[in-house]
Symmetry: none
Subunit: 143 residues, 4 copies
């Protein structure tokens, strides 16, 4: 499974609908491919401008390290083993909201980054996209 | 009329469908708001990686100067009045494919940048998005 | 209410006069619009050169996050939920002196950033500008 | 004579009033000191966003080379002796609108950069500021 246009749209819609369904604040949703190049993006009405860049960096971080951005925070910390690694690669994010997208075989095919709500809410929204990647349902707005 | 999430999706879909309908090569589609902040993006399957950034810059150029990117090329030229202005604002694009999005009153509300096909094809695709902004039909995938 | 030229001048004058009235050190005053584009700037005689950029970043931070820069410092901290978010958006400021400008309805219309004195003094000066935005008095030098 | 806060305000007001008086389009006015550090800035209502950066670069170019930006264009051209010098110093402008500010002894004390109207109009506005620097009248809005 690869990150097709159809899958990109599906991931973005799943994230958007999760935010709406849970009545979370509007967020920015960024999707990048396995090589961390931007694949898709959507700003929801009223999402905080400063979180556009944060969403991109969360997705990039997850794709570049094949790990959720929150996991990086455990090592990229003044008391962690890789303090300052967050300054590499043009600037990474070391808190939640960047989640790897895997196919049914567990292979990383991209990542999604969400920002605009609380870190916990961003993470929930991003995980909804990761789950959607594994479902068979077609892309598009849910009924 | 403002650049709502629904309109962002409509612009991207209109551009994508124009590229498919005309059997143009796959493109990257970038949408930014009136102030040049990213609002939406979609990469079509197989679009050239290097054109992601080009699409963004086309949209940014059109929004920042309230003019299509091709118009900038007429002045940002060794023999034009504003030679090298294309190096301001972090790097602009002075050929076609960046088109302003106007509302029914002619007010600029954002811009779309398309890159991946020929400049003429990119321009046609971007213009399809600008036209869609003025139609009353709902956003979403065409039947 | 929008960030007109007249209001920009009023904000800068209010900040400058607050600094003079309280006999604070000279400061740099930066005003940006709602989308973080520079709208106005004034350097007071003798303001420290290195604080020009700090003033800009304080204003940008407040506009991009619709929150005073000091508030960012509470989350962008080794023990906070968004450690390192200050490195996004080209570099933000997570201490005081960047204040959002709201209209009478509480809508954010821009931000002011002040730097050159102590953080507490910068904050006081910036707040004077925010208060001036809500007064009916005309712009210009106070009598 | 040095570039005091009062003189910065005087330069900006003179430029603004010249633009209004001649019914030119709204412009961005940037003032920098002898060392090319920003000293003052004002965006007039409706000035094109993309010309904020152009105004800054015009002022910087004039201050760094102690020469009007238009003069650089004569040498920084594919057929000129210093082709590509416009790429130094972070990016210079080689067309009109950046003008050096001199004191009564002809010593360069700063520069003003204007952008937003045509190159010829920008230049006229910037020259009005340079002339104002030599007058004895106090700063502030003209009667």
């Amino acid at each position: 499974m690869t990150l097709t246009t159809e899958l990109i749209e599906k991931l973005i819609n799943a994230a958007k609908e999760e935010a709406v369904r849970r009545q979370f604040p509007p967020v920015n949703i960024s999707v990048c491919d396995r090589a961390a190049h931007l694949a898709g993006f959507l700003r929801m009405d009223g999402a905080i401008l400063g979180t556009i860049d944060v969403a991109h960096r969360k997705a990039r971080t997850a794709a570049l390290f094949e790990a959720d951005s929150g996991a990086l925070g455990k090592v990229a910390h003044p008391d962690g083993p890789s303090y300052m690694v967050e300054h590499t690669n043009g600037g990474l994010i070391n808190f939640g909201g960047g989640v790897v997208i895997k196919d049914a075989d567990g292979v990383v095919i991209g990542a999604v980054g969400v920002s605009g709500a609380s870190v916990e809410e961003d993470e929930i929204i991003a995980r909804a996209a990761a789950v959607a990647a594994l479902t068979k349902e077609p892309a598009g707005h849910a009924a």
